[in-house]
């Protein structure tokens, strides 16, 4: 069965600083990988996705993620965070079947002024 681990429950970053959120997955083949963001009281919004090809993928809001097969990782990065980036971030894996995504437990991002 596939699984996702987000090792950091909370991360605090100063506004303007760089950000990296960690994600490790477990899956037998090359999975489809996703990052979602959830603002308070809202549903989840897709930031970016990896299906195949270039291992560095660009997403919305200035985010990018890098797929590293050797480390089973798909870490999310942003060079300079803004106060509006404060939210919950979820990494997810999909094996390609009809049963949807398996999510990590999320990382809560706090932005310090």
């Amino acid at each position: 069965a596939q699984s996702v681990t987000q090792p950091d429950i909370h991360i605090t970053v100063s506004e303007g600083a760089s950000l990296e959120l960690r994600c490790n997955y477990s899956y037998g083949a090359t999975p489809y990988l996703f990052w979602y963001v959830q603002s308070p009281g809202q549903g989840l919004q897709l930031l970016l996705k990896y299906f195949s090809g270039d291992t560095l993928v660009q997403g919305i809001k200035g985010f990018e993620a890098e797929f590293k097969r050797s480390q089973s990782s798909f870490n999310l990065r942003k060079p300079s965070v803004h106060w509006s980036d404060a939210a919950e971030y979820f990494c997810a894996v999909d094996g390609g079947g009809a049963d949807g995504l398996t999510f990590g437990k999320g990382t809560h991002l706090i932005i310090q002024p």
């Binding site: 489809y32 897709l46 996705k49 979820f90 390609g96 949807g100 999510f103 437990k105």
Partner: protein, 112 residues
């Protein structure tokens, strides 16, 4: 843009009541999903459907049932609500397996 609409943002129900959570998507997606979100536990899949009248159990189906009579609508049913079903419920849809999920804004259900 895909729109997934959940009929209620907030619901308060009493223990033992039958509860219906409704979800509608407007993009002719094949797959629809119900997740439950709890602090520290992330999102857990309750049920999903890959076609009209088809349904499959997810990771935590106990105490829930679903209905998909039309392609655009997927309903979650709590036959007899209990306090441990107090949670945020998220509906999602996708074009096919491997496609991104599109989420509604969620329904926060409180069972007292």
């Amino acid at each position: 843009d895909v729109k997934v609409t959940q009929s209620s943002r907030y619901l308060v129900k009493r223990t033992g009541e039958k509860v219906f959570l409704e979800c509608v998507q407007d993009m002719d997606h094949e797959n629809m999903f119900w997740y439950r979100q709890d602090p520290g536990l992330g999102l857990r899949l309750i049920y999903f459907s890959y076609d009209v009248k088809m349904k499959e159990k997810g990771d935590i189906p106990e105490g829930y049932s679903v209905s998909r009579e039309k392609k655009e609508r997927f309903s979650l049913i709590l036959e007899s609500a209990s306090t441990n079903q107090t949670s945020m419920y998220l509906c999602a849809s996708s074009y096919r397996g491997g496609s991104p999920l599109h989420f509604g804004n969620g329904t926060r259900l409180t069972v007292t």
